[in-house]
Amino acid sequence: MRSPRQRSEPTEHGGYRRDPEGTHPPLDSPSYRSTVLRHPKQPLILLPHRMTELTGPVFGEDRIGPVDHDLTRQHAAEPQGQRIIVHGRLLDGNGKPVPHSLVEIWQANAGGRYRHTGDRWPSPLDPNFDGVGRTLTDARGNYEFITIKPGAYPWGNHDNAWRPAHIHFSLFGTAFPQRLVTQMYFPDDPLFAQDPIFNSVPDPAARQRMVSEFDLARTVDHWALAFRFDIVLRGSAATPFEDEEHEA
């Protein structure tokens, strides 16, 4: 979606670095059929980063309820499925943690069904699972959710199409160009090969950055498995030389 001549060229005020070609999916990705009528056909126009793009909203604790980070404790009883910890760090492209930043997630239940009126495939809803969470990163950019592993689910994109299990993530960072909505996948999913959404990311290395790692060290004996998912938002071109002693 970005034209090559504008790559990594800092704007007049520094602003945010442009991602290399292949990092993000092209809006026109015909194997994902819903893109056909929804992608712009006119070329995008370069927006230099000025005040509106160098700023962004800040959200505080008032937006977060006490069990918003724990999707297994939002109802009277626990949901069905494999209990997991999903955690990681929110960083910018300079390796700097993004502290106190809102992280929102939503997902299907263990059987691959969303609590949404539009999802009608014959897998049961779980009365104890909404599939929605939110939290703030801490001072070091760490976040953690407790949830259950979502199931894969079928969709109508192509013959016998199945989405690999995933959790939707929404991130703000500190400025408008850092806004990111992505999906976290699970390691070694056999459904990757047939999924046009996962494969819409042209660069295979970038694609792998959407796949969480199994994290044995963070599993809790007799209680939960753990997956680590670090998320990187665009780095600022304005401060190219961070002092690296602070990077743990």
């Binding site: 927006l47 005040m51 999802d119 599939g131 929404s170």
Partner: protein, 185 residues
């Protein structure tokens, strides 16, 4: 410097409505703020059909050109958040309650015409698309705006809100005739 590759974007999918809307999402300013207005519009696809599963987010300065962000040291108007978020309904309609922003004066002295940055997310959009809302009252400032002047003259009107009976109207056409101008941010 550590330089890390960004995490790629993915679509919000068809079920964003369970996760992203907030009860107070549409209120970029408090409901009864002075000069508060609604900006409403419909998001259309390339067949001219309303998109009922999109999310519109807005980010803007207050009426004095100040941002509710740590990167702007100025105090904003009371009750002003500057960020709005609204899912489209079954008719493709969204609405944001806000104030018309003031001109934004940049540190280098450049002045931008009053504008709102807009991001649209939807099933079928693998990355949000970004556009801007400008206002018809600011004809002279619009003609000198450093961003609007990058846009071919014949497409500029897709970025200018219209005055409606109860506020402003700003439709988004993702594709085809009258396609909205989108920016590479």
């Amino acid at each position: 410097m550590t330089e890390l590759g960004s995490t790629p974007a993915q679509t919000v999918g068809p079920y964003l409505a369970i996760g992203l809307p907030w009860p107070d999402g549409p209120y970029a300013t408090v409901e009864d703020a002075e000069h508060a207005v609604w900006i409403r519009g419909i998001v259309y696809d390339g067949a001219g059909v309303p998109v009922p599963d999109a999310l519109v987010e807005t980010w803007q300065a207050d009426q004095y050109g100040r941002f509710a962000s740590p990167a702007d040291s100025n105090e904003v108007a009371t009750g002003f958040r500057g960020f709005g978020r609204c899912p489209t309904d079954l008719e493709g309609l969204y609405g944001i309650r806000t104030v018309r922003p003031g001109p934004v004066r940049e540190p280098d002295g450049v002045e931008q015409a009053p504008h709102i940055d807009v991001a649209v997310f939807a099933r079928g959009l693998l990355h949000q698309v970004v556009t801007r809302i400008y206002f018809p009252e600011n004809e002279r400032a619009n003609a000198a705006d450093p961003v609007l002047t990058r846009v071919p003259m014949e497409r500029r009107d897709t970025l200018i809100a219209r005055i409606g009976p109860d506020g402003y109207r700003f439709d988004v056409r993702l594709q085809g005739a009258g396609e909205t101008v989108f920016f590479d941010v």
